[in-house]
């Protein structure tokens, strides 16, 4: 079973490496959206410090949304999804592999990039560190929950917009606890509780989401 998950992760990573423009454009979107805020609201350190967690997290949500529609669409178009659905293993495991691969090329780079962007908001090194960890812990949940939406809107005309309407509300808890953790650090309350809740959301998102996703994919294929 692990062999299968490994096989799908390595295949998807290889495909992503052959199509680097997709990854890079989502990252640049993240960089630009975050950088627009200091330019727009003016250089007041107090205000920027207050805004930073929310801005970075919202930008991360939007950047994740950019790559979600293609999670299953390409496999659906070229017939690979049918073959995956006919593999002699549970489809949920295959989805799990695809979610992990999606996180490695979308969530992980965001988390690594965030501290650098956080500097524009005059965040302390403590807060930058927490910001990066919240993204590291929280973004897998975004890929997991997003997979359900991507499967439900597969093959639907104008599915991209529908996908955002479906998935963004479900991202709210992740946003609250992710941004809240950085806020709590800035105000000196400690981020422990927020990080634990974020971890729980991720575990739930990554390990439970593949099963409804698999069911939705089977419906899309019927």
């Amino acid at each position: 079973m692990l062999k299968l998950v490994h096989a799908i992760i390595s295949r998807d990573l290889r495909l992503a490496m052959r199509r680097r423009a997709d990854i890079v454009s989502a990252l640049f979107f993240f960089i630009i959206v975050v950088s627009l805020f200091p330019l727009g609201v003016g250089p007041e350190p107090e205000l920027l410090r207050k805004l930073a967690p929310g801005v970075l997290w919202v930008a991360a949500l939007l950047a994740t949304m950019l790559s979600l529609p293609r999670l299953f669409a390409d496999d659906h178009r070229d017939g690979t999804l049918e073959q995956l659905a006919l593999a002699p293993q549970p489809l949920g495991l295959i989805v799990l592999g695809k979610v992990v691969a999606h996180w490695l090329v979308s969530g992980l780079p965001l988390a690594l990039l965030a501290p650098v962007l956080g500097l524009q908001f005059d965040l302390s090194s403590d807060a930058l560190w927490v910001l990066s960890s919240t993204l590291l812990i929280g973004t897998p949940a975004l890929s997991g929950i997003g997979a359900i939406g991507a499967a439900l809107t597969l093959g639907v005309r104008g599915g991209g917009v529908l996908l955002s309407l479906l998935v963004l509300p479900l991202y709210i808890p992740v946003l609250i606890f992710g941004a809240g953790a950085v806020d709590a650090t800035v105000t000196g309350l400690g981020a422990q509780a927020h990080l634990s809740l974020l971890g729980a959301l991720t575990l739930g998102g990554v390990f439970f989401a593949p099963w409804p996703t698999a069911a939705a994919l089977r419906i899309a294929l019927d």
Binding site: L15, G79, E82
Partner: protein, 204 residues
């Protein structure tokens, strides 16, 4: 081995076919015919378990395929309308990846041999998007060379192929039937296989 009874398929409001039934044993091939839109592809997808029939049941070795689930899929090889190959990957990578995902042991040597057999020698390391339609179909068909699963379900395997490749596929089908395998296929071309019994079913 494969028994189908009173199968009915409804697409939208329209009934495509009803009361379809047949029985297929080892070494037999079912040649599915019918005009465009008569439900050939739908029937094949139902046989695979990808789509659900409106009525009727499909039994494999005496048990319904819904009950068998993964055990049925382990004995099934489906080649659909689409080639199921990734344009960004090379033919070799495609072949190895699909074998790994289907939980089959296929080493690089065997994969290269299969590609050579379908006439893609020298193209192994070229991304599939640079191949022609017929060559892409050949990549998809290379899966069949080392395929030892019992039931092959092939949707228009001859599409976009030249005469030499059609002969090659007919050879692969003949060898499979000789091993006691089963084949269900649709095609608009004449099929000419050396071994096995060929049954015909006309839809619509």
């Amino acid at each position: 081995m494969l028994e189908v009874s009173r199968l009915e398929c409804v697409r939208g409001e329209r009934s495509l076919f009803a009361g379809v039934g047949f029985r297929l044993d080892g070494g037999e091939m079912l040649y599915l015919q019918g005009r465009n839109g008569s439900g050939k592809t739908s029937l094949l997808r139902i046989l695979c378990g990808l789509a659900q029939p409106a009525a009727g049941e499909i039994r494999w070795r005496g048990t319904t395929i819904d009950t068998l689930g993964e055990d049925y899929r382990r004995e099934l090889c489906y080649l659909g309308h689409h080639n199921a190959i990734k344009e960004e990957l090379t033919p070799l990578e495609n072949l190895l990846a699909s074998a790994r995902l289907a939980d089959e042991a296929l080493d690089e040597g065997a994969a290269l041999e299969a590609l050579e057999m379908v006439g893609l020698a020298g193209r192994e390391d070229l991304a599939c998007r640079y191949l022609s339609q017929g060559q892409k179909r050949r990549v998809a068909l290379a899966r069949l060379v080392n395929e030892r699963r019992a039931l092959w379900i092939l949707d228009e395997p001859y599409v976009a192929l030249d005469a030499a490749a059609i002969e090659l596929v007919a050879g692969l089908l003949g060898a499979h039937l000789q091993r006691g395998g089963l084949v269900v296929l649709t095609t608009h071309q004449a099929v000419d296989v050396a071994a096995g019994t060929v049954r015909q079913l006309r839809l619509g």
